[in-house]
């Protein structure tokens, strides 16, 4: 597994996010914020990232005629959950920090912080498992 393998798909996901922001600058953020407020955003992102990661991994193993590993599959399934849960806590801290200060237009800033962290969290959740798999493969190669 090379890190360039998921890079192209991740780039397309990122570009899609960007195009939605440019062409739907009000409705798309409203959808994200509404789902975050109703505590649906994290489960939706977990479902999306895990499905995408597993699909990418199976595609790469098929192309290389390799067998999917159990550890790698477990990593792809569990790491996005931990990453998104952890970054959700970070987002809570960000919101508390923004609202605690005497900042003008704090609610609007919070909305933009949620949007930005949603984007970075999605990228992290898709990329982190492949990074761990790659590090594991390097470690295994060095030790064998």
């Amino acid at each position: 597994m090379r890190l360039a393998d998921p890079a192209a798909m991740l780039a397309y996901v990122s570009l899609l996010f960007g195009l939605l922001l440019v062409f739907f600058p009000i409705s798309f953020p409203k959808i994200v914020l509404h789902n975050w407020q109703s505590a649906r955003l994290t489960p939706i992102m977990i479902l999306f990232t895990v499905s995408l990661n597993l699909g990418l991994y199976l595609k790469v193993t098929y192309q290389r005629s390799a067998r999917p590993g159990i550890l790698a599959s477990a990593c792809l399934g569990s790491v996005p959950v931990f990453v998104l849960a952890g970054l959700n806590l970070l987002l809570q801290a960000t919101i508390a920090h923004t609202l605690a200060g005497d900042i003008r237009n704090a609610p609007a800033r919070v909305d933009e912080e949620i949007l930005a962290q949603t984007f970075f969290a999605m990228i992290a959740a898709i990329f982190a498992p492949f990074l761990l798999i790659r590090l594991g493969q390097q470690f295994h190669k060095n030790n064998s």
């Binding site: 090379r2 890190l3 360039a4 393998d5 890079a7 192209a8 991740l10 780039a11 397309y12 990122s14 570009l15 996010f17 960007g18 922001l21 440019v22 062409f23 739907f24 600058p25 009000i26 953020p29 409203k30 914020l33 407020q37 970054l87 970070l90 987002l91 801290a93 960000t94 920090h97 923004t98 003008r104 237009n105 609610p107 609007a108 800033r109 919070v110 909305d111 933009e112 912080e113 949007l115 930005a116 962290q117 984007f119 970075f120 969290a121 990228i123 992290a124 990329f127």
Partner: protein, 153 residues
Amino acid sequence: MVALGIHELTADWTSAKWLLWISLYAGFGIVLPRVMTLAWAHQHHMPMRPGLKQIFEHGELGLVSLMLAISVIWDLQKSEYTSYTVALGSVFLALTGIMAGAVWVEAYCRRFSGIRFTSERAWRDSRNLALLVFSLALVTEILLDRFVKVTAL
């Protein structure tokens, strides 16, 4: 929590300026070297017509990506996002930029040491990682632009 003044972020075509911005990097970093190569070949009456794959077959696209990542990290550091958001974005941009640059370094090391080197692989890896860095940079700048408009309300 409803965003105040979000109507101020109504799409105007200034939001698409980031496509123009990213096109400058693509133009100067990728298209210009090819144009200069063709111009040189023409000037010296050489029949060569290299494509982007041949010009960047040693992973040089990674260097362009690294420069782009650095400029976006700088913009992020100057923004008024909270430190958590700035750190998160900076880490990911730096990580992807370094990985893109590492393709060029690895290609050089393999060629120098005589270890098996495939230019096809170097081109493919640097192309995919450059695409990733470009897309992350574009979305980050769009988010920064929105945030500036919100803080100006």
